[in-house]
């Protein structure tokens, strides 16, 4: 019976249980998914329809429990308790049922209709386990629907169950009469056997008395049992909302008793419904023996990263060759068409030397970017990322950061924007600030075109080594800076790493596709917007001067601005006005450094072999050598992050002062390191 009213469904579950994948499967949205906890920090909404009924879905942050100790828990709890949610879909990772059922028991106590979506059933089967799907709903008293978000099975059955149970809306406890099966149970409180979770007599007696006191206080209060349990747990929020007299009943918090009894019940459930559970997890333990080994852990991580960059450069460069051929063909085609049409030479120059050269040059790096993200997606989806936090924890601890902070740093290899946002997962404000400060030092994918271009031009067969060295330098600078800052502010490493290590799984093609496609789309839209505009602006700066259109480039605005700043950059080997203008333009987006170079030096298709060799010639005639090139790459690695990153930093730290101080610090760091590299290089070679 289609209802004109929209049914509001909340997705809730443990971190890393596949909530977001399931949400994406329904809404067609492409939210980011990763196999490590804490990806969803804010709630996301989407719409779907089932048999004519409109359903609004809300994806909530992953949480382990409904207490209110962390930001995520508070957000999720408030949302679920509010009238915004009619039905709760509790997404559980069926392959890790024991952990997931704890939240389920808490949700059931809330009194709203709950439907358990058993996700990752395919993995359960893969591991040779079985879940008794008849016994589980009997014991929990709620519908349990097996789904696979990755394979998109069970999706419509789940929605069917949602609509079927939506009618139960109301905040009274869910009542179901399980048969006389309680005999072997340790939880006997016979007058309460309509609840799934029955505590021992002591707790149940206290609950009864508190319900009486709550009723006296507020007879219309829905779901008094839940409130009574929360009062027993001394939950701050509920105690403030309902200041009931707890004396004689809950003089201390009974939270530990309640938690333990819930886990006891879960153990009972697991004993009954999970068949062949010891076969579980053997393979993850075997892999972890190497990945988390005392000595092998770090080398394995470095080797994996080296392999990622190796593939990015070799396979990426091979594919890039074809893109370059296409670019030359296209640019010749347009140039020919424009001149045969008798277009104004100035306009022709704008289109061919400005736009096609700038934007096209960036597009030829698409294969490198594609492969880098493919590799990162693979690492994230397999479950390896959180091991890195563990492997790096000792080292990071010595340097004053928690191992957990290494995850934002790693994400920084992709893009600084999500990396800066990921620092939210850190609890200590000082840790967060430090991590935000150093995250932009990690070499993001936008710097890749700069490295590829300049290392190919100046370092020939060593180009891959040069690029890898820049990635390592980024990590070293990030770590060194956080070490120094920690020394200065006197904070000691907390050594309070606490992170789930999920089971390894074979990465899912769809998840990886979404991840990579998002990044490729970002890259393309950046080429079409920021880089497109920057290319036009660059062309304008080069071709216009104080007296209008210039024929001599040295009279252009670009030259005037660049030359004014030259003295500052001369000591670091970058005292060339074209390079300076390119660096300034790179603040719009780092790739713009490359597109600007091609416009600034007037070289069409700079990324092709011919373009590069003419660029080397031009630069060589200015005295710009491999040492200058390395200094330039180091400067690009470390200097002010792009505008999008600065905006994100500003949003996260909330103070203009700090944002500006961070940018200034990064600029100085870049200058100092480029200075060192340049002068050490001059001494050595």
């Amino acid at each position: 019976m289609p209802n004109s009213k929209t049914v509001n469904v909340g997705f809730i579950g443990n971190p890393n249980c596949g909530k977001t994948t399931l949400f994406n499967a329904y809404t067609g949205a492409n939210l980011k998914v990763a196999n490590w906890p804490g990806v969803t920090v804010e709630k996301k909404e989407g719409m779907t329809e089932y048999e004519g009924q409109k359903i609004k879905l809300t994806d909530l942050p992953g949480i382990y429990s409904l207490t209110s100790y962390t930001m995520e828990e508070t957000v999720s709890r408030e949302c679920i308790m509010s009238s915004d949610i009619d039905v709760i879909i509790d997404v559980a990772d069926a392959s890790s049922l024991e952990r997931n059922l704890y939240l389920t028991l808490q949700l059931i106590e809330l009194g709203k209709p709950v439907i358990l979506a058993l996700n990752m059933m395919d993995i359960v089967e893969e591991r040779g386990m079985e879940i008794d799907l008849h016994r589980l709903p009997e014991m929990l008293g709620i519908p349990c629907i097996p789904v696979s978000a990755r394979k998109k099975t069970g999706l419509s059955i789940l929605l069917h169950a949602v609509l079927h149970h939506e009618g139960l809306t109301g905040q009274d406890p869910l009542i179901h009469h399980h048969a006389e099966k309680e005999q072997q149970s340790s939880h006997r409180h016979n007058h309460h056997n309509e609840y799934a979770m029955v505590y021992d007599d002591m707790i149940e007696d206290k609950i009864d008395i508190l319900i009486d006191r709550l009723t006296a206080e507020n007879p219309d209060l829905p779901n008094k049992r839940w409130h009574a349990i929360k009062l027993l747990e001394h939950d701050e929020t509920v105690m403030k909302q309902h200041p009931v007299d707890l004396s004689g009943i809950a003089d201390r918090s009974y939270e530990k008793d309640i938690i333990n009894q819930k886990y006891d019940f879960i153990e009972e459930i697991i004993q009954e419904v999970l068949v062949n559970k010891d076969a579980k997890a053997a393979s993850t333990d075997r892999i972890d023996r190497y990945m988390t080994d005392k000595y092998l852990g770090l080398p394995i991580f470095l080797a994996i990263m080296a392999f990622v960059f190796f593939v990015t450069f070799t396979v990426g460069d091979w594919m890039k060759g074809y893109f370059e051929l296409g670019l030359v063909w296209f640019s010749d085609l347009v140039s020919g068409a424009l001149s045969s049409a008798g277009t104004n030479p100035l306009l022709q120059s704008l289109v061919v030397d400005g736009i096609i050269s700038g934007v096209g040059g960036i597009l030829t790096f698409l294969p490198n970017i594609f492969i880098l993200f493919l590799a990162l997606a693979f690492l994230e989806d397999s479950g390896y990322m959180s091991r890195v936090a563990y492997v790096m924890d000792d080292l990071m601890g010595h340097l004053g950061l928690s191992g957990r902070a290494f995850i934002p740093l790693l994400l920084g290899f992709g893009c600084s924007v999500p990396a800066v946002m990921a620092s939210r997962a850190l609890e200590h404000p000082k840790d967060r600030l430090k991590t935000i400060l150093v995250t932009p030092f990690m070499s993001c994918s936008a710097r890749l075109p700069i490295y590829v271009l300049f290392s190919s031009m100046f370092f020939g067969k060593y180009k891959m080594l040069v690029c890898y060295s820049l990635y390592l330098l980024g990590i070293v600078v990030a770590i060194a800076v956080s070490f120094i800052v920690s020394k200065l502010d006197g904070s000691k490493a907390e050594q309070t790493l606490l992170i789930e290590l999920p089971e390894y799984k074979s990465p899912n093609a769809h998840t990886i596709f979404i991840y990579v496609w998002e990044k490729v789309k970002d890259y393309l839209s950046k080429a079409g917007t920021v880089i497109f505009i920057a290319s036009i602006v660059m062309w304008g700066i080069m071709n216009l001067g104080p007296h209008g259109v210039v024929s001599d480039i040295s009279e252009s605005f670009g030259s005037i601005i660049g030359k004014a700043i030259e003295p500052v950059f001369a000591p670091v080997g970058l005292g060339y006005w074209q390079i300076i203008v390119a660096l300034i333009s790179g603040i719009a987006a780092k790739e713009v450094v490359v597109s600007s170079c091609s416009v600034l030096f007037g070289i069409a298709n700079i990324t092709t072999a011919a373009g590069m060799s003419s660029m080397v010639e031009v630069l060589g005639s200015m005295g710009f050598t491999a040492i200058n090139a390395y200094a330039l790459m180091v400067f690009c690695l470390l200097y002010v992050p792009c505008m999008a990153t600065m905006a994100t930093i500003h949003r996260e730290v909330g103070k203009m002062r700090i944002t500006i101080a961070f940018a200034a610090f990064q600029l100085v760091t870049a200058w100092v390191f480029a200075f060192l590299v340049y002068h050490i290089g001059l001494l050595l070679f």
């Binding site: 382990y64 207490t67 100790y69 890790s96 988390t292 959180s386 790493l497 606490l498 290590l501 999920p502």
Partner: protein, 81 residues
């Protein structure tokens, strides 16, 4: 003894947790309560260690591990009622 002093592939029972409230609560929500069995997976390093409790693997920082008192679990199995 505390958890950090434990041996690999041994199961221990949590006796008490001596950490600041917020952290203790987070551990409890994950099921690491008094009486909970914890199996050490890898305690080779000086710092963090990996453990399994309530069916899930976790990495625990050194300070957390040192502030969880445990006792050896004779049967190496969760006691059944």
């Amino acid at each position: 003894m505390n958890l950090k002093m434990g041996k690999n592939r041994q199961t221990y029972t949590v006796k008490s947790i001596r950490l600041e409230l917020a952290l203790e609560r987070r551990l409890e929500a994950l099921g690491l309560t008094e009486g909970a069995p914890v199996t050490i997976l890898n305690n080779d390093k000086k710092g963090a260690m990996t453990v399994r409790f309530r069916g899930t693997r976790f990495a625990l920082g050194r300070r957390i591990a040192e502030h969880i008192d445990v006792e050896e679990n004779v049967s190496c199995q969760t006691p059944k009622q």
